[in-house]
Amino acid sequence: MVELNYYLGLSSILFAIGVIGVLVRRNAIIIFMSIELMFNSINLSLISFSSFLGDVTGQILVFFIIAVAAAEAAIGLAIIIALFRNKGTVNIDEINILKW
């Protein structure tokens, strides 16, 4: 049987990749994809905890996270489209009227 630590290690690596993606990419949609990656890495860790603890509530939370992520995707893409219509770009560096 695979140890818990391997799952957690994978989950942490995925999470870190997600965070780095958010920090370095410039396209709003790709940033959002990186955030989704972070969510999924957490899902992985929750499921593995759930399995090793023998407690089902962790898996229930995972379902809710998936549902919420879907809702957020809908909202997020809508916002990005609205912005693109007005501004013609989704490059984060150019979206900085609001500052100081």
Binding site: V22, I31, N96, K99, W100
Partner: protein, 638 residues
């Protein structure tokens, strides 16, 4: 009268609400003004009634707590909405409402024709209401409420003529400087509550009345912080800078708030917790030294001012310094006595100056006045009485209170301090008579074709006359011991300060002082004041050229060698120092400069820091992640 005591704070509040909310609809100067004045007169009458009721009681029973309702009850903090009527608060009540009423009546004439007449009166009533909270409350929190309330009113009234840019700045300055004092007050309250579990003054006094060592660290801290609050409100070093600027407000406001009542709140506060201060001789020494320094500094500054109200403002700071000197030597009843007489004569002089300014079409520079004594007879006579009183000429009220301060400085501290205070008293006489001489004597220096000074209406002169009478005879309630008469004022206040004076006399056991010595000192101070007044009068009553400082010396040289020597040896250096150093450098550069520098520093810091908000999402996430990483590392490795 105690049964209807609730009317005392309620009526000014009602007056405020009526004028503020429907004053514009009433749209009648007379009705607004009368409502507002009556709302102050009735509390005064009630106060007089209570005075007689209290006098009928034995001295020990003269402290009457009046509990209205439980105001805050949270388990954390229990505060009752309660007043305490005792001789001290009653004296303050009578001064606030009595002088306040006269100033309201005066304002009826002075503010005539102002387009926001009703607003002015509503603020005045609000001020009286807040001031009554301050003096009557039996609780630090309630006092603080009044304390902030009077600050707010002062702010609103200084800036009343907000069309002038300057008044806005002055109001802001007053407000900001007072906040520093408030910081002291608030911290003191927190300390008291945290260590004594109460904010009631009676309880607090009860808890420190026995078994507390002298100069206990906690009590020193509380006393110092409260004193910091007092220096803010009572315009003492280092927080006095706002008061001269506050003169931008209408003159009745200067008389009511910045001379007679609000600025004495600090004195009252310390007198109210006199037992605390008697237990910390260390703080008393600080109060004494700062008081002396303030009195001297402000008096020297007053020498060179040419704005009639500015002179009075610096004089007020100086006189407040005298009150703090009395507090510093634990002569509490004398501080309150001087507070009262000062309220009479300084309100009188401010109102007199208002009458002069009014008749001169808003001219405030005394160099452009002169020879007004024939045109403004009543103003002149009453103002002269005020000037004589503040100079300490017997038998006017100021003589009694100031002499007691001098005498107590002599026996309570050391001769050097006594001489400095005596010198300050001389300066007081000097600058006051310079003001009188330049304003009322000599030839008119204004444009006689355009300006025709005329006496003010009766609503303005009657308060002047009443205040002049009070300033003249007000001192007789507190005749000094050497006259052999009974000092009613001291006896009346004695129960309030008994504990404090017991503690004080155990620390400073001093024997009997000979009456001869006291009489000699009285004679010295009267002669000194008289001499200074005379000198000043001779110097300035005939003066009509101001452009050239050097010419001034030459005119005198032809007549009196002594005057000339005096001028070169003492006055010019002092005036020069006053103008060049104390006023231009110390006041304007060091103290104003520090406040402005601090504000400027933060604004600059702000301009730099705001750049962190770059508006780019990635910068935000980077800072966020950095924060998270630091927190996690802290949790893992510390």
């Amino acid at each position: 009268m105690l049964k209807i005591f609730y009317l005392v704070p309620l009526l000014p509040l009602l007056g405020f609400l009526i004028n503020f909310l429907i004053g514009k609809k009433i749209n009648n100067e007379k009705i607004s003004g009368i409502i507002s004045s009556v709302a102050v007169l009735i509390p005064f009458i009630i106060g007089v009634g209570v005075l007689f009721e209290i006098l009928a009681l034995p001295p020990e029973a003269r402290t009457i707590p009046i509990h209205y309702f439980s105001w805050l009850f949270t388990g954390i903090l229990n505060v009752n909405f309660a007043y305490v009527v005792d001789p001290l608060s009653l004296v303050m009540l009578l001064v606030v409402t009595g002088v306040g009423f006269l100033i309201h009546v005066y304002s009826l004439g002075y503010m005539h024709g102002d387009k926001e007449y009703h607003i002015f009166f509503s603020y005045m009533n609000l001020f009286i209401f807040a001031m009554l909270q301050l003096v009557l409350a039996d609780n630090f929190l309630l006092i603080f409420l009044g304390w902030e309330g009077v600050g707010l009113c002062s702010y609103l009234l200084i800036g009343f003529w907000y069309e002038k840019k300057f008044t806005g700045d002055a109001a802001k300055k007053a407000f900001v400087v007072n906040r520093i004092g408030d910081f002291g007050f608030m911290t003191a309250m927190l300390l008291i509550f945290n260590n004594f579990g109460t904010l009631d003054i009676t309880h607090f006094i009860g808890k420190i009345s026995s078994g507390v060592p002298l100069n206990d660290g906690l009590l020193v801290a509380i006393a110092l912080l409260l004193f910091l609050g007092a220096t803010g409100k009572s315009a003492q070093i280092p927080l006095f800078v706002w008061l001269p600027d506050a003169m931008a407000g209408p003159t009745p406001v200067s008389a009511l708030i910045h001379a007679a009542t609000m600025v004495t709140a600090g004195v009252y506060l310390i007198a109210r917790v006199s037992l605390l201060y008697s237990l910390v001789p260390l703080v008393n020494s600080i109060i004494l030294i700062l008081g002396i320094f303030t009195a001297l500094l402000a008096a020297t500054m007053a020498l060179k001012q040419n704005d009639i109200k500015k002179i009075l403002a610096y004089s007020t700071i100086s006189q407040l310094g005298f009150m703090f000197i009395a507090l510093g030597v634990s002569a509490y009843h004398i501080a309150v006595f001087h507070l009262m007489t000062h309220a009479f004569f300084k309100a009188l002089m401010f109102l007199g100056s208002g009458s002069v300014i009014h008749s001169m079409h808003e001219e405030q520079d005394i160099r452009n006045m002169g020879g007004l004594k024939d045109k403004l007879k009543i103003t002149y006579i009453t103002f002269l009485i005020g000037a004589l009183a503040i100079s300490g000429i017997p038998p006017l009220s100021g003589f009694f209170s100031k002499d007691e301060i001098l005498w107590n400085t002599f026996i309570g501290s050391n001769p050097v301090f006594y001489i400095i205070v005596l010198f300050t008293a001389m300066l007081t006489a000097f600058y006051m008579f310079r003001l009188v001489a330049l304003t009322f004597f000599g030839k008119p220096r204004y444009n006689t074709d355009h300006v025709h000074p005329h006496e003010s209406p009766a609503s303005m002169t009657i308060p002047l006359i009443i205040l002049a009478v009070l300033a003249a005879i007000g001192g007789f309630v507190g005749l000094p011991h050497y006259t052999g008469a009974v000092n009613y004022f001291e006896h009346f206040l004695e129960p309030v300060f008994r504990q404090a004076s017991t503690v004080y006399s155990t620390i400073h056991p001093h024997g009997e002082h000979s009456i001869t010595l006291e009489l000699i000192l009285v004679a010295v101070s009267v002669i000194a004041a008289g001499f200074a007044a005379f000198l000043s009068f001779r110097l300035f009553s005939k003066k009509d050229k101001f452009e050239n400082e050097k010419g001034f010396g030459k005119i005198l040289e032809d007549k009196y060698y002594i005057d000339e020597a005096y001028d070169y040896a003492v006055i010019t250096p002092i005036q020069k120092t006053s103008e060049n150093f104390l006023w231009k450098i110390f006041d304007v550069k060091i103290i104003d400069g520090f406040v402005n520098w601090l504000a400027g520093y933060f604004v600059k810091l702000s301009a730099d820091w705001r750049k962190i908000q770059t508006g780019v999402i990635q910068d935000y996430t980077t800072i966020t992640v950095a924060g998270i990483v630091v927190i996690i590392l802290y949790l893992l490795f510390l």
